[in-house]
Structure formats: structure tokens, C-alpha cells
């Protein structure tokens, strides 16, 4: 197990497209870091740079205490789980698991032993002699994990490994991943576009946009104190409401933007402002109300309990508790602090 340190790492393609701007990031030994962001933000490119599947245009990659920037993927001792699992279709599951060890000239007895223990841990023992085409999606995913684990590599790189699974299987797979991580204590770099997955899995989240790191912090910190409006709206569903500070009724630098999460908006028969209900989205345990504030037509999302939700067109009263407001700079969206 090893820590991964990226220093000034950047990647610009020959056609001029900047995929990753120079960034610094340190992933601690044994940490589970999730890189999340919208499509095209550079998170997959960053993962591939760490793996060695792309060469950087600038910067350094250090795994453990070895500078691997000039090393091809073969020599970095990293394991990767691809979105498509990339299982060798012409080899059995056992041969798939053994491949990385065979290439390293591990002796047959050690290979057998390691495959055995990994197969047991992942519950894929009956599948060892089957071909990937004969496996279900969930089974393939476990074999892909097994292939990474059996090599006892420095770190694991996972590229959206759950996105090809049926949604019903995903929660279970997430729990499995967390259990395995606790068990193995490996360094994990995980890429996803699903912010909920990022929140539930990670030790730390790295939010990316347009090739740059917007914020790197534990999930609850990102939720509670987002560094800018982008992070504020990307993490947390439904997304944070953003409105002019004046409309929110707080004292702030001219033109600042106030933010409040829909869960924090108080809706009731009495409150500071009148608002009209435009749409009600029932979600089961709660409802998302699409409101607009009377007078300024500012849209607002609020979450209320499903017991007796208001009807469309109804007039309600909302309160935006000042201690739940976030304040952002109007020009670059950066956080100006919480209003107290």
C-alpha cells in the first residue's frame, strides 16, 4: 500500500484541449478518495494519468516514494477496475485472476493460494472455471475486483465500476466495496459522476470541473461548507438554491449570492415570506416543492414531509433561517463564509 502524490500534474491534448489543469493532490496511504464531477471534467483523464495510460504534459506522479512519471503502466504496480470490467473474454475466470501474477513470474503454488483466498472473500469460487461471457453483470464486477485485489498492488484505481450495474444492485455493491476497503486497507482512487455514490463511499471527495480541483474534503465538510457555488450545487440533491443576497434578506457585500439547501428551507402557514407552489414532486418519504417567492419571482426548492403537502397554486410561507445560509461571491462563486 502506498500514498499517491500528484504535483503540478497537467494534460493538454495535441489539438489544444486542456483536459487537466496543473493540480496538486495527495492521496494518503489507505485512503478512499472519490473523484467526482460532470462529464468532461477530467476525472477519468486524471485516473488514466495516474495509471500511466496517458502521459502528462507537465508535473509529477509519485507512488509511495517512487517517481513513476516516466514509468509505463506495467511498472507502476497499480491495479485498475475498468467501467466495462475489461475481463479477458478468451480466458476463464481463474486465468483472468492469475494473469497479472503469471506475468510477474509468480510460482504456481502462490498463484493458486492467492486466487483461492480472493475467490473466497468475493464469493466467486464456483465461477472460477467459467468464461466471462457466462457471468452476470454483478458476477463480472466481482471478478474484476478480484483481479485487482489478487495482485496486492500499491493502490487500486476504479473507473465508474458500478455504473454498468442495475440500480438495484448498486447499493449492495457499494456496501461490498466499503467492507472490502475496511478489510484490505488499500489506497483507492475512485471515479464517478454520481454525487450520491461519492458521498456514501468516500473518505474524501475531490470535486472536479473543467480539469481543475474545486474542493477536496470529507463528504460532510463538502456538504456543510462547499467552497463555491459549483460544488454547492453539484453535491446534495435536490441542488442548493442560489438567490441574490438582497432577496434572501441578509447583509452582504454588494451583489453577493446567498445559498440555502432545500432541506433547510422552512415551509409552513406562517413565516417571513409569501411563496406560491408551482409543482409538487412526491419522492416517497418526502416531497420536493417548486416554489417562487412572491414579489421577486425568485424560484426556490424546498423539501417537506409527505404528510399533507400543499397543493399546486397554494400560497405558503417560507423562512430562510440565517444560520443555514451560505454566502458566495458573485463574480467567481467562491465562498464568502456562512452568515451568522
Amino acid at each position: 500500500m502506498a500514498a499517491i502524490t500528484l504535483t503540478g500534474l497537467s494534460k493538454t491534448y495535441p489539438n489544444g484541449h486542456v483536459a487537466v489543469r496543473p493540480l496538486d493532490l495527495r492521496i494518503e496511504d489507505g485512503e478512499f478518495l472519490v473523484m467526482v464531477g460532470p462529464s468532461g471534467c477530467g476525472k477519468s483523464t486524471l485516473l488514466r494519468l495516474i495509471a500511466g495510460l496517458e502521459t502528462p504534459t507537465g508535473g509529477r506522479i509519485v507512488v509511495g516514494d517512487v517517481d513513476v512519471t516516466a514509468h509505463p503502466p506495467q511498472r507502476r504496480d497499480l491495479a485498475m477496475v475498468f467501467q466495462s470490467y475489461a475481463l479477458y473474454p478468451h480466458m476463464s475466470v481463474r486465468e483472468n485472476l492469475a494473469y497479472g501474477l503469471k506475468v510477474r513470474r509468480t510460482d504456481a503454488a502462490t498463484i493458486a493460494r492467492q486466487i483461492g483466498s480472493v475467490a473466497e472473500a468475493l464469493d466467486i469460487e464456483e465461477l472460477l472455471d467459467r468464461r466471462p461471457a457466462q457471468l452476470s453483470g454483478g458476477q463480472r464486477q466481482r471478478v474484476a475486483l478480484g483481479r485487482a485485489i489478487v495482485r496486492k498492488a500499491n493502490a487500486f484505481l476504479l473507473d465508474e465500476p458500478l455504473s454498468n450495474l442495475d440500480p438495484s444492485l448498486r447499493a449492495q455493491a457499494r456496501a461490498e466495496l466499503r467492507r472490502l476497503h475496511r478489510l484490505l486497507g488499500t489506497t483507492v482512487v475512485y471515479v464517478t459522476h454520481d454525487q450520491e455514490e461519492a458521498m456514501t463511499l468516500s473518505g474524501r471527495i475531490a470535486v472536479m470541473r473543467d480539469g481543475a480541483l474545486e474542493q477536496v474534503a470529507p463528504p460532510l465538510e463538502i456538504y456543510a461548507t462547499p467552497a463555491n457555488t459549483f460544488v454547492a450545487r453539484f453535491i446534495g440533491a435536490p441542488p442548493m438554491n442560489l438567490l441574490p443576497a438582497a432577496v434572501a434578506g441578509i447583509d452582504a457585500p454588494a451583489g453577493a449570492v446567498a445559498g440555502i439547501r432545500p432541506h433547510d428551507v422552512r415551509v409552513g402557514t406562517e413565516g417571513a415570506r409569501r411563496a406560491t407552489v408551482d409543482l409538487v414532486e412526491p419522492r416517497g418519504p418526502d416531497c420536493v416543492l417548486h416554489l417562487h417567492l412572491d414579489g421577486s419571482n425568485t424560484p426556490l426548492l424546498a423539501v417537506v414531509s409527505s404528510a399533507a403537502p400543499p397543493a399546486i397554486g397554494a400560497v405558503v410561507f417560507v423562512t430562510l433561517p440565517p444560520d443555514r445560509l451560505h454566502v458566495f461571491d458573485q463574480r467567481d462563486g467562491s465562498r464568502l463564509g456562512a452568515h451568522t
Binding site: P56, R60, D67
Partner: protein, 303 residues
């Protein structure tokens, strides 16, 4: 470029060139050297039957001679006319065949084999076969044409300078239509069937749907198939040589055959090489024009 990562890229490039080297060496040796020699010969007077003349450099002399050589003009005309007649025919029939193959569910294998056989047969065989069928008044096709009154009673296809082209074109179309069909079929199979469904829901008849949706989307495949066929048609040799020998007289003599005769029979290596170079320039020029048209049509099809 990141100087730290450079060794990885350099190693990969080194391996890339290493793997390419054997193939490149073979091609350079076996293709490029002869091509260069031919081009060089084209600039010289070199008649093997007149060895005492040596091999003087005459620059564009051979090409000038070709320009005023009536036989060359005729051969050029034959070649281009042949290409312009047979290729559109092959594209149309190939399209029809492809559409049919696409809509059939049963017996696909049988159809594929039937389509592939003419293409896979040696050109020599096809030439002799079609010659046999048009032979004098008694070949099966020759006599059928007579029976249906399309030609006179003593008509010999291979004696008439224009009629002699009919078996040649027929053989070429017969042999290459399946090839075109297969290329177009692949193109048809990449078209989203939902588009056809949408057209039908919108009320389009099958013919309209085909003309306004399928055909435009098939344009890239048509262009590719047409390009390949044109390139081959301009280099016509085997069929003409075997079926008619260029006859009657030189009425069915394409450029490649004239070059062959100049080289191998009249042993005029300089002149024959120049003729070959002209054939190459013709195909090359055509390829360039076609690629330009291809680029434009593809960007049009994408929007």
C-alpha cells in the same frame, strides 16, 4: 512535452517503428523500387529491339508521343468510358442487391454465398465463361438475343467494335456487383432502424422513406464502394486481355492492355513505362478528386 514522461513515449514510438519496419522494407523493396524504375524508364528512350540506340534520356518525349498517338487516345477513351458505364451500373445493381439482402430474414447464408461466388471466381474464369456465353451465334446468350430478335441472324458479338464491349461490361458488372452489394449492406446495417420506423409513423411510403432517409445516410458507403470500383475499373486488364485480346483490332483495348503490349510484345520499355505512368496518374488524380468529394459529402451527411 513533459520531459519526465518522454521516455515512455519514446519507447513506444521505437517499438512502433520496429514493428512497422519489416512490412515497410518489403513494400519498399518490392513495390517502390520497381515504381521508381518505371518512372525513370518513362523518361528514356528504351526499345529492346533497337539496342544500338542505347537508352538516352528524352524527358517528356514519351508522353508527347502518347499525346499524339491515336491508339493511346482510343485506349484512354475506352478506359474512361468503360469506367463511367460499368461503375454506376454496379452501384445501382449492388444497391438493389444490398437492399434485398438486408430485408431478407431466411436464407441469408445462401444469398451471401450466391453473391460471393461471382466475386471470388478468378477473372480469367469469368472472362472465358462470358466469352463462351456470347460466342458466335451459338453461345447461350448470343442465341437468346437472336431468338428474341434483338440482333440479326449472323451477328458475332466479338467482331463488332462496339458490341464487343457488351460481354466485357457484363462480365465486370456480374463479377463486382456482389462486392459492391456487400459493402453497401454493411452500410445499411449501421443505419438505425428506428429512423425508418419514425418515417413510417410520419406517413412516408416505403419508396419515399428509402429516398429521403436511407439513401442519404448510405452516401458514405456509396462513395467508398464507388471509389474502390472506379480505381479498379480504370486499371482494367484481365477481362479485356482474356476475352477479346483487345480486339476486334484495338476496339476493346484499355490503357493497361496497350501498356502491356508496348512493353511485353513490342518491347518498347520507355514508351510502355510512360503509358503505365499515365494510368497511374489517371487513377491517382481520380482518387484525389473522389477523396475531396468524399470529404464534402461526409460532412454534409453528418449535419
Amino acid at each position: 512535452m513533459n520531459h519526465r514522461a518522454a521516455p515512455v513515449e519514446r519507447a513506444e514510438t521505437r517499438l512502433a517503428w520496429l514493428l512497422v519496419a519489416p512490412a515497410l522494407a518489403v513494400i519498399l523493396l518490392v513495390s517502390l523500387v520497381p515504381i521508381v524504375v518505371t518512372a525513370w524508364e518513362a523518361l528514356h528512350l528504351h526499345d529492346l529491339r533497337l539496342p544500338w540506340l542505347g537508352r538516352p534520356f528524352i524527358g517528356a518525349g514519351n508522353f508527347v508521343e502518347a499525346a499524339s498517338d491515336p491508339r493511346f487516345g482510343a485506349a484512354l477513351f475506352h478506359t474512361v468510358a468503360f469506367a463511367l458505364i460499368s461503375v454506376p451500373l454496379e452501384l445501382m445493381l449492388g444497391l438493389a442487391l444490398a437492399v434485398m439482402m438486408h430485408s431478407v430474414v431466411q436464407g441469408r447464408a445462401f444469398i451471401r454465398v450466391s453473391a460471393l461466388l461471382p466475386w471470388a471466381i478468378p477473372t480469367v474464369v469469368a472472362a472465358l465463361l462470358w466469352r463462351f456465353m456470347f460466342e458466335s451465334q451459338t453461345g447461350i446468350l448470343a442465341s437468346s438475343f437472336q431468338t428474341f430478335g434483338l440482333v440479326g441472324p449472323a451477328f458475332d458479338w466479338f467482331v463488332d467494335p462496339i458490341a464487343a464491349w457488351v460481354p466485357i461490361i457484363a462480365a465486370d458488372v456480374w463479377k463486382t456487383t456482389p462486392f459492391v452489394a456487400i459493402l453497401l449492406l454493411a452500410g445499411l446495417q449501421t443505419i438505425d432502424p428506428a429512423l425508418g420506423d419514425a418515417a413510417r409513423i410520419d406517413g412516408a411510403s416505403p419508396a419515399t422513406g428509402f429516398l429521403t432517409i436511407t439513401l442519404p445516410l448510405l452516401t458514405p458507403a456509396l462513395v467508398v464502394a464507388g471509389a474502390f470500383r472506379m480505381l479498379d475499373a480504370l486499371r482494367l486488364f484481365d477481362l479485356a486481355y482474356v476475352m477479346t485480346g483487345g480486339g476486334p483490332g484495338t476496339a476493346t483495348e484499355p490503357l493497361s492492355l496497350y501498356a502491356f503490349i508496348a512493353l511485353m510484345q513490342r518491347l518498347r520499355f520507355g514508351y510502355g513505362s510512360a503509358l503505365s505512368v499515365i494510368v497511374f496518374l489517371l487513377t491517382f488524380a481520380f482518387a484525389l478528386v473522389w477523396v475531396r468529394a468524399l470529404g464534402r459529402s461526409l460532412s454534409g451527411a453528418r449535419s
